[in-house]
Structures are given as C-alpha cells and as structure tokens.
C-alpha cells in the first residue's frame, strides 16, 4: 500500500517536472526565433549605421564605395511600388469580389480557387522567367519599370486576392441581406455596402503584399533590372534598379567598404518596410475593434 502511494506520487512528480521542462522549452524556442530577428537587426545596424547619411540617400551608384549612394535604387523602388499597385490592386480586389460574392459553386470556381493557392507557392524566380519571356521579350517592354511592375504584380496577386477574400468573408451576412431587402441589385449591394465594410481589412492585405513586392530581388534579376543605373526612372518605360538589387550587388563585391554600403541600404529598405508593416498592423487592429464593437 505504502509503496503504491509513493510510486504514484513519484510518478506525479515526474509528470509535473516533464510538464515544467516542456513549458520552458516552448518558451525558449519562441524567444530563440525572436532572438534571430534581434541578432539580424543588431548585425545590420552595427555594420551599416555609419554609412547612412543624406549624401548616401541622394547619390548615384559609383565605383568608389565612399561616393556611392542609393538615389537611383530608392526611386526605382518607389516607381516599382506605385506601378505594381496600379496593376495588382484592382485585379486582386476584383478577383476576390468575384470569388466571394459572385462565383457559383461549380468546377470553374473551384479551379480558380485552388489555382490561386498554388500560385502563392510558386517560387519567385519562376515568375522572373515568366516576366522575361512574356513582358521583356514577347511584349518587347525591354528592361523597363513597366516589365518589372507587371512581373511583381503577378507575383503578389495571389497574396492580395487571399487577403481580400478573408476581409470580404469577415463582413456579416446581415449587411448583404439588408441591402437586398431595400431593393439593391447585387453590384449595388457589393460596391456600396460590402466592399466599404471590408476596405480596412483589404488595405492591410494590400500593404503587406506591396511590402513583399518591394523586397523581391530574384524575379527582377531575371528580367534584367540593371545593376549599374546612374539615373532615376523618368517614365514607365525607363530602365531602373531597385534597393534589393543594389544590396545584392554590393554584398557580392570583394571590397569591405561596399559591404558597409549594403548594410546601410538594408537599413533604408527595412525602415520603409517596417513603416508599411506598422501601418498595416494599426489598420488591422482598428478593423478588428470596429467589428467587435
């Protein structure tokens, strides 16, 4: 009897210790994952902070590392982001509205939906090859901002569609029924009631997708966004370079000084991306609160 009780309590103690150890392990794993982000930011800041200056932001690339800057790349990134938004946002939202509000439950809708999820997983470099064959060669857009923006648009389209679909799904059905009840047609219901209600959620998805787009490097290397561009784009058909390509180029050089430039350019790129991410997170929190309230 006594031995049974003592093995029982010993068993319990062992189970409790296991439970404790596992909790600590899980927490540790989480903080290791977050720690990597901290380590990365620390390393980049340490290497690059000395290189960030107004001259750096406002100079063209150069063969001399101390004179080189990111003016062409920064403006190229801004051009690329706006032109990508022009193509990707209307098509992405349109697709999402079709799939959520219009599509009948048939094989075509199923294929479109499965296809979108699959496109989201296609490696970005494959989009680069598509852009090279379709936009650069077949449509003869050459290595222009236009070709780059079209390529990146196709790349981020699935992300925008999936995010916009989630935003539309979050709109309560009572709003749709209310609109129908007062005699609205389907398009009136969708565009005057449902889309405005889903807009903040959609904006979050769009901003996150665009920030993914301006961080992309591989597809733009494929379509041949030039590595040495000592000018800012002067129109949609101008040649261009972007920050990630400039970072890649500088990282590959043997000279240490260029690595500092790469780190400094990373700081600028991360500031742009973190700003966009925080706007997206603030928007989403507002959106969630408004639905709860």
């Amino acid at each position: 009897m006594t031995t049974a009780t003592s093995t029982f309590s010993g068993h319990i103690r062992r189970r409790r210790i296991f439970a404790m150890a596992f909790a600590v392990l899980c927490a540790a794993a989480t903080f290791v994952a977050i720690g990597f982000l901290g380590l990365l930011l620390y390393d980049v800041l340490k290497q690059g902070l000395g290189g960030v200056s107004w001259d750096f932001i406002n100079s063209y690339p150069s063969r001399k590392p101390e004179e080189a800057g990111i003016k062409a790349a920064l403006w190229g990134t801004i051009w690329l982001m706006f032109m990508t938004a022009i193509f990707a946002v209307p098509i992405g939202i349109g697709s999402a509205i079709y799939l959520e509000e219009y599509a009948p439950r048939n094989w075509l809708s199923r294929i479109i939906q499965i296809n979108i999820s699959n496109l989201a997983g296609v490696p970005s470099i494959v989009y680069g090859l598509l852009g090279l064959a379709l936009f650069v060669r077949a449509m003869q857009l050459e290595r222009s901002v236009m070709a780059g923006a079209l390529t990146i648009s196709l790349l981020i389209l699935p992300i925008i569609i999936i995010a916009a679909q989630e935003a539309l799904r979050a709109v309560p059905n009572s709003i749709r029924e209310g609109a129908y009840a007062v005699g609205a047609t389907r398009s009136q219901m969708v565009f005057r009631q449902v889309v405005p209600a889903a807009l903040p959620g959609m904006m979050t998805g769009i901003i996150l997708a665009l920030s993914r787009g301006i961080g992309e490097t591989a597809p733009l290397i494929m379509i041949g966004a030039l590595l040495f561009v000592p000018f800012t784009p002067d129109g949609p058909f101008s040649r261009f370079t972007v920050l990630p390509i400039q970072i890649f180029n500088w990282s590959q050089r043997p000279q240490e000084e260029f690595h500092q430039n790469a780190a400094a350019a990373i700081i600028v790129l991360l500031i742009v991306l973190l700003t966009m991410n925080s706007i997206a997170i603030v928007l989403r929190n507002r959106f969630q609160n408004s639905h709860r309230g």
């Binding site: 699959n118 494959v126 598509l130 389209l157």
Partner: protein
C-alpha cells in the same frame, strides 16, 4: 460563396409590363460588372497557363538537344564550359540538402513556438509575439542572404567548424530556416487553434498535465495541418533564391557535407542570368529546364499540403 442563386434582376423580369428602360439598363450594368470581375479572376488562371507554356516550350527545345536521361541521370553539371555536361543531379542534391537542413532547423523551433503561442502564452504575450514573427516573415530574402554571408558564415560557421572558405551550404540553410520559422509557427498554430476546446478540457479533466495535453491530444489532432505546414515550409526552402545565391557559393557540388559550398537550382538560374550567356542558346535554355524541374517539385508539394489542409478542415469544420 454565392449568397443567392437567382441574380438580383430576375424576380423583376417575370412582371413583363413594368420592365422599363431603367431596369434593362440596370440589368446590362449588372452583367458588365459580373463579366469584368470574372475577367479579373481569370488573370490568375492565365498566369499559371503562361508559366507552364513558357517553361514547357523552352524545356522541350532543350530536350531535343540533350536527352532527359543525361539530364536527370548525369552527375556533372558544367553547361557553360567545354566539355559541357548536363547532369542536373549536383544541383538537385544541393537544393535538397540545403532544404532538408533548413527544415531540420526550422521545424522543431517553429512547432515549439506554435505550441507555446497556442497552449501556453497569455493573450497579451501573443499579441506582442505574433506581430514580431510577422516582421521576421517580412524580412526580404536578400537581407537574410546578407546576414547569412556576413554573420552566420563569417562569425559562426567559419570559426566553429574551422572551415577555410566563406561559402557553405550550412550558413545558407540556417538563414533559410530562420526565414521559414514564422511560416511553420503560424500555420501550425492555426491548426492547433482549430482543435476543439472540448478535447483539451476532456484531457485536463482526466488529470493530464499541459505537456500531456499538447503531446497526446492537441498535436495529434492537428497533425495533418502541421504536416501541411512542414511541407509548405520545405517547398518554400526549395524555391528560395537570394539566400543561396549570396551565401551557398557557385560551384555545383555532389556531396552530403553541408560545410562545403554548393549550388542550388535557383542559384544556378540567377548565376546564368547575371552572366553574358546569349538568350536563345542551348546554355540559356538550361535555366528553363532547371526551372521546370523546380516548378514541378514545388507544385507537387504545394498540392499535397493543400490536400492535407482540406482533409484537416473537413474533420473540424
């Protein structure tokens, strides 16, 4: 998906005399809007079709000159040199090795993070950690490549393993692992959150500890969702380009030693497009054959992970 089956205009059309010009204009408007939205949705189908056509066209042209047996069976990849060899195995092996090491690194960390977020963390802590993980997920891969080359390779791998060269598969694989941790964590957490509360409560009522509930109830119940996350993460690792282009080196290398430099399929494609290989030549076509291989591999993995996810949803929703 479709909220009503009849279109909004149809009840009106039964009352013929009252169907005035305004109503007809409204009906045409509805049809036009419907058509435009459908056209938007079809862009994504066209994208897939275009990818397949572009890759297939160039790959078939490539296979007319090089036999598929040499391509898939050869152990030497030197298309840009003489004598040229077109065996894709070294690139394939490099890609798989790096992806497996990356997954071995990211899967335990991501899964434990997911368990922590789903089963342990109080809601205030979750609301801090999740945005941080999202920021990590949003770091551009070229930045992770920089980190792999100038921190992981230079300050960790090189002193730790006493290697001579800077490039190694290991540094690139760790950076890819860091890249996919947030993906594994957030997809696995979603799967665990979908496990009904009653299952957990039943186990707690029997006196199970939190560890036992996680290991014996939540993880098994969410297993197909977690598997889908692993497969998706591996597929992402296979397709990753900039990290390997910067940190893994540029020599095709058929070895299982992760401390050696090696080239992946994606890094080869980048290397060729940065060089001065004339477009339309056999050398240039190699990148389409390699990309086709890459596309088929990732496509199959994505389809499989979606199948698992769908099965998982059928159980709990």
């Amino acid at each position: 998906m479709a909220r009503t089956d009849s279109s909004a205009g149809s009840p009106r059309s039964r009352v013929k005399p009252r169907r005035d010009l305004g109503a007809r204009a409204l009906n045409i408007r509805e049809i036009v809007i419907h058509g435009m939205l459908l056209a938007c949705a079809l862009v994504s189908v066209l994208t897939t079709t275009a990818i397949v056509i572009v890759l297939l066209e160039e790959t078939l042209a490539f296979f007319q000159e090089i036999s598929p047996l040499d391509f898939f069976g050869g152990t030497k990849w030197t298309p840009l040199f003489t004598p040229a060899n077109y065996g894709v195995l070294p690139l394939l092996a490099g890609t798989l090795l790096i992806s497996i090491v990356a997954a071995a690194f990211a899967v335990p960390l991501g899964l434990l993070t997911a368990i922590f977020l789903s089963e342990y963390a109080p809601s205030w802590l979750r609301s801090i950690i999740k945005p941080i993980l999202e920021v990590l997920a949003g770091i551009p891969t070229v930045v992770l490549g920089f980190f792999a080359l100038f921190f992981l390779a230079e300050d960790i791998v090189k002193p730790l393993f006493q290697t001579t060269g800077l490039f190694s598969a290991l540094a690139a694989a760790i950076a890819i692992g860091i890249m996919v941790i947030p993906l594994v964590a957030s997809l696995s957490e979603d799967a665990m959150q979908a496990v009904p509360r009653s299952l957990r409560e039943g186990a707690f009522a029997l006196g199970a500890t939190r560890f036992e509930v996680s290991r014996r109830v939540v993880v098994p119940a969410a297993l197909s969702g977690i598997m889908a996350a692993f497969i998706l993460a591996t597929s992402r690792a296979i397709g990753e380009t900039m990290i390997v282009a910067l940190a893994a080196g540029s020599t095709p290398n058929l070895t299982w030693n992760p401390l050696e430099p090696m080239q992946t399929m994606t890094a080869y494609i980048v290397a060729v497009s940065l060089g001065d290989t004339p477009q339309g030549s056999l050398e240039f076509r190699t990148i389409f054959a390699v990309a086709m291989t890459l596309f088929i591999m990732t496509f199959a993995m994505n389809l499989f992970s979606q199948y698992l996810l769908r099965k998982f949803r059928e159980v709990y929703e």
